[in-house]
């Protein structure tokens, strides 16, 4: 790719003065609660023998911008001349998903307008031959700007995600000779782990509980419908449709601009979120149709089953950008597993259900164990409930109490999905900086009194 306008940050020169962040707010008339540029400090509590450095980051206007690719509403566009990635506030539905997929923490939710905003590379200034306000105002010449090629976009510093998405920034790393000053006073360890608590999470159960319920309701419907196609009892279509519509409403309720919900279907070719939303709608439509109108051809039912499982895969794909510490690539709260489990219980298949429960609980306990070793909260009481409920559910299933079994299984699934929203993180520069610090042996040194 040819050279394009790019930020150049020399961390040797940056003193963390915040003039760039302030100049950005002034130039773009932003409220202080909604900065487009932030300075993130690595090692701010001065772990001995570890360098301190500041990462001043806004949007990096990536060549393969995941925000633009994954926006379900096609609210992003690229400015041809500068390569700037821009949000069209009139198209944004306020789903916040761009903030999930951006590893640099660039998109921000504007509470007042219900839409996302972010650094616009000062395109207007650039079109007039000027430079971004942050660059103009850097008093130490640490933040500059120039035309760089992809080969020149190097950023090997703590806190900067290597996501392979072509960020238009070059970060000059610290020169080794000035890495850390030799200090003459006896060293001690600061409570740097406490800084994790200062990071505002992108996803919380309190905020996203509607999504948590939605992502349990959909696999339940898929599981039940599939079970019916395999010869099980037919669900009551009114309850089935009721749950489906309630789930859709819940998922739409967290949008900043509910009036524009329809835009979520506009980006099927790239956005997993867009696909998920359309697939859920498609599955519900066809499956409810089958339940309501008895005379429809049976191949349509298999189409609905296929749609259902593709929907579940799409939901899991949407959450793929998140991080659950202690979990591997598979984890127990994935909705595909929930769909399988509910289907097996519905049709009274203890062997299939037992196998799924076994896999789920193994994954769950392994994650909890890992989190405990990482020093993260594990909520043991909730954990026991999550393990006990499906275990008893299996007993009930074998004992021919299908409804008791279903209720117990669902309790386990709801707890797991709820915990998922508690534990899930979106990696940000701040959390990556702490991960980097955690990985340094110096941050685990033990000093004498």
């Amino acid at each position: 790719m040819s050279a394009r306008p790019s930020f150049i940050l020399d961390v040797n020169k940056c003193t963390g003065c915040h003039a760039c962040a302030m100049a950005c707010q002034i130039a773009n008339d932003l409220p202080v609660t909604q900065p487009w540029r932030e300075v993130r400090t690595f090692n701010e509590l001065h772990v001995p023998d570890v360098e301190l450095m500041h990462l001043s980051l806004a949007c990096n206007h990536c060549a393969d911008a995941p925000c633009m690719e994954q926006c379900p509403a096609r609210a992003f566009r690229r400015d041809e001349k500068t390569g700037a990635v821009l949000i069209d506030a009139d198209s944004c539905i306020g789903c916040r998903y761009c903030a999930w997929v951006c590893p640099y923490g660039a998109p921000r939710f504007d509470e007042e307008r219900g839409v996302m905003t972010k650094c616009n590379f000062c395109v207007d200034k650039q079109h007039e031959g000027g430079e971004p306000a942050c660059v103009t105002s850097c008093p130490t010449d640490a933040l500059t700007w120039g035309e760089l090629t992809d080969e020149e976009h190097i950023q090997d510093v703590p806190g900067f995600a290597q996501a392979g998405i072509g960020p238009a920034i070059r970060i000059e790393p610290l020169r080794s000779k000035r890495l850390v000053p030799e200090m003459t006073h006896p060293p001690a360890m600061p409570p740097w782990r406490r800084l994790r608590g200062k990071i505002t999470p992108h996803i919380t159960l309190v905020h996203e509980w509607t999504l948590a319920l939605f992502t349990v309701m959909v696999p339940v419907l898929v599981g039940v419908f599939t079970a019916w196609r395999f010869g099980g009892a037919a669900p009551d279509w009114k309850i089935f449709l009721g749950i489906g519509v309630a789930g859709m409403a819940m998922s739409a309720s967290h949008l900043g601009r509910k009036d524009r919900s329809w835009r979520a279907a506009l980006h099927l070719d790239e956005s997993w979120l867009s696909r998920e939303i359309v697939l859920v709608g498609g599955f519900l439509g066809v499956s409810s149709g089958m339940l309501v109108f008895g005379g429809l051809p049976s191949w349509l039912g298999w189409v609905a089953v296929a749609l259902g499982f593709i929907t579940l895969a799409a939901i899991d794909q949407v959450y793929k950008v998140t991080l659950i510490r202690g979990a591997g690539p598979l984890h127990s709260a994935q909705v595909l597993g929930t769909g399988l489990l509910v289907g097996a219980v519905w049709n009274g298949l203890p062997l299939v259900a037992g196998a799924v429960v076994l896999v789920k609980l193994s994954l769950y306990l392994a994650r909890k164990n890992n989190r405990s070793r990482l020093g993260l909260k594990t909520h043991p009481a909730v954990g026991w409930l999550r393990v006990a409920a499906p275990s008893l559910g299996m007993v009930a299933l074998v004992g021919d109490l299908p409804w008791v079994a279903m209720v117990l299984i669902l309790i386990g699934e709801i707890i797991d999905r709820g915990e998922f929203y508690v534990e899930v993180e979106i990696p940000t520069p701040n959390s990556l900086q702490l991960d980097e610090l955690d990985a340094r042996p110096e941050a685990h040194a033990v000093f004498g009194g």
């Binding site: 020169k13 202080v32 509590l45 301190l52 000053p181 003459t184």
Partner: protein, 662 residues
């Protein structure tokens, strides 16, 4: 800086490349004027205190009539010296001279001597080198060795960091001496963390090592240094090991610093202001400057003593700290009798006449002067107080009448500097908001009520139409006009990029004075820069168990003293005061990160969240200064009003405190 105004509002503040010291951009305080200028909290009308302590808007006529009546009454009943004039370092400019000129026309007043900021360092420099000037800011890039001694330029002089970086790029070495690991020390290879207040001991130990190893510039000393032999004998009075124990730094660090300073030229020592706010500061700073003298690091590019550059102070005739001292012969009009360092107690101690009326402008003594409780008591003991302010500061809250103050964008003036050497025009480009009036207008309106007028008044204080004429009259002796400054910053007449290049030192001996008889005559101190411990710290060295922590109150990049901290755009980066404490000191007190802690001594107490930081020296705690009372961080509740050994500075950094879990 270059500002953009749209529809009467500041919308952008950008750098002016023609100022070679700051071509890249203003600091964040400069940028924050976009909010400050139009802040909804600005005082836009005269306000009068009500019996319940609140303030109500009154008309200018009411306010001026009342102030004039009070002034007349107090002048007639007690004499003009019962009127106390207090001004600090807020908005700068030539027009600031108008206020004292007004009081002279009224018959006189009482005012302060000394200064909170920098006089001990200025006087130490004057005694040693003869004049306060240093090489141009950009010359630092020529240094091969840079020593930041008690200075955190990244927060207090950010534009200097660019030149540090240029020097480092060319292979320069950087040493920082500071009890805290700072943003500046991140660039250093060695951070020496002495006990605060003991820098003089460290400097003399370095001098001893330099002399012992023969790493001094004998040729330079022979031609330019006065009193070297006595100095060399004096530094031998204490071993390096003894000094290292007092400073609580490893001997190896002394040796490394001495080895670098003895072998790398040119070297520049950039000294901060904080360490000259102890009772021993004059001697400390003289000891530091002597290192430049004995290594021949004065008068060359890349070499020198960088403390304060007063080459732009070309208007008053004096550009040394003598202007801060009480005059040798009182003029019978202006009584210069209140030490700024002891403001509260000295105000209360005035007799014949006692103080009755205070006029405060460009300052916030309730927050910034030592011994907040004594200052508050002194103000409350007066019968009338007028505060000219832009915001409702702790001092404004003590006023009977608050008069709204102009901002720096609202009246044309000429400003100098104390780091670079440019004179600059600061044009009035914005209308004064609300009913704000310039101080010149306020004084003229008072003058007409007090029957002061005529040519004397016009010379002292320009009328609204005479401003440019008045400013041109000040510039005339320099062969300058306002028009000359309209194109951009102009180096002050006679200013030099490399100072003392001619090896002419305006001291009594004409040389760099390591022995100063003037120091003895004027200040009663040792003619040699012999090191002593400051009072409270001496107790710490002897392990006073009651109050074993030294409290530092450094400046932050986020404020200039007590200014700017009230703005939202600043508060986002610095929402509230906290006490920074070493992990071991916190652990010994059972204090967790973020927990509320009591910081106290016999003078007062603050309750602040603890920030546990391994960058601070054990035995020290740090609270940045400049917080307002309503923010809970009035650090001067804990400081004591005492003077520095020279120059009537405020020795208010020498404070021991204890910290306990709240």
């Amino acid at each position: 800086m270059r500002v953009t105004v749209e529809d009467g509002r500041l919308t952008a503040i950008e750098p002016v490349e023609a100022n070679e010291a700051t071509p890249e951009g203003p600091c964040l305080k400069g940028l924050s004027y976009v909010e400050r200028q139009h802040s909804p909290d600005r005082i836009l009308h005269p306000l009068k205190r009500q019996p319940d302590g609140s303030f109500s808007r009154i008309s200018w006529d009411c306010a001026l009539d009342e102030v004039a009546t009070q002034l007349k009454k107090i002048r007639d009943d007690h004499g003009p010296q019962a009127i106390f004039h207090y001004a600090a370092s807020g908005t700068k400019g030539l027009l600031n001279s108008c206020s004292l000129a007004f009081w002279r026309l009224l018959g006189g007043c009482t005012t302060t001597y000394g200064d909170l900021c920098w006089p001990a360092g200025l006087e130490a420099t004057r005694l040693t080198l003869g004049e306060n000037k240093h090489n141009a800011p950009w010359d630092l890039a020529n240094a091969r060795l840079i020593i930041f001694w008690g200075k955190n330029a990244a927060e207090t002089n950010i534009h200097q960091m660019r030149f540090v970086d240029q020097a480092l790029d060319q292979g320069a070495r950087l040493i920082v001496i500071d009890p805290r690991r700072t943003q500046t020390s991140e660039r250093a290879e060695l951070l020496i963390q002495p006990r605060p207040g003991t820098d003089g001991f460290l400097a003399l130990a370095i001098a001893r090592l330099l002399i012992e190893k023969g790493n001094i510039d004998r040729g330079f000393i022979a031609g330019n240094v006065h009193g070297f032999d006595e100095f060399a004998a004096m530094v031998n009075e204490r071993t390096v090991a003894e000094a290292a124990r007092i400073c609580d730094v490893p001997i190896a660090a002394n040796e490394k610093l001495a080895a670098l300073l003895g072998s790398i030229k040119p070297a520049t020592i950039c000294a901060g202001f904080g360490m000259q706010r102890y009772t021993n500061s004059g001697q400390t700073m003289r000891a530091l400057i002597s290192l430049c003298g004995i290594t021949g690091n004065i008068g060359y590019p890349g070499a020198g003593w960088v403390y304060a550059n007063l080459q732009t102070q070309v208007f008053g005739g004096v550009r040394d700290p003598i202007a801060f001292y009480p005059p040798d012969k009182p003029d019978g009009q202006v009584r210069v009798s209140v030490s700024t360092a002891r403001l509260g107690r000295d105000m209360q101690a005035q007799t014949g006449p006692p103080l009755k009326f205070a006029w405060v402008e460009r300052g916030n003594p309730l927050a910034q002067n030592p011994e907040t409780h004594a200052v508050r008591k002194a103000f409350r003991a007066l019968s009338f107080r007028v505060v000219v302010e832009q915001f409702m500061t702790d001092t404004a809250r003590e006023a009977d009448i608050i008069l709204p103050a102009k901002s720096m964008f609202e009246q044309t003036d000429v400003i100098g500097a104390y780091w670079h050497h440019y004179l600059q025009l600061r044009p009035g480009i914005l209308d004064m908001p609300g009913e704000v009036r310039a101080e010149t207008e306020i004084f003229r309106a008072l003058a007409s009520r007090l029957d002061i007028g005529g040519p004397d008044l016009d010379i002292a204080i320009p009328g609204s139409g005479d401003l440019e004429t008045w400013l041109n009259r000040q510039l005339a002796p320099l062969d300058l006009t306002l028009d000359d400054l309209k194109d951009g910053p102009l180096p002050a007449p006679g200013s030099e990029n490399v100072v003392f290049a001619d090896r002419k030192f305006p001291t009594p001996s004409g040389r760099i004075e390591l022995v100063s008889s003037e120091a003895k005559e004027r200040w009663g101190i040792d003619p040699l820069p012999r090191a002593q411990l400051p009072g409270e710290t001496a107790a710490e060295v002897n392990h006073d168990p009651a109050t074993p922590l030294q409290m530092m109150t450094p400046n932050t990049k986020n404020r200039i003293h007590s200014q700017f901290g009230n703005l939202d755009i600043i508060k986002q980066f610095d929402p509230g005061p906290e006490v920074t404490i070493h992990p071991n000191d916190a652990a010994a007190r059972g204090i967790e990160h973020g927990e509320l802690a009591r910081v106290f001594n016999k003078r007062g107490e603050l309750q602040l969240p603890a920030r546990i930081d391994a960058g601070i020296r054990r035995g020290c705690v740090s609270v940045t200064n400049g917080w307002w009372g309503e923010q809970g961080g009035l650090v001067n509740k804990l400081s004591e009003g005492r003077e520095t050994d020279v120059a009537h500075g405020a020795a208010f950094h020498d404070n021991l405190v204890e910290v306990k879990k709240a």
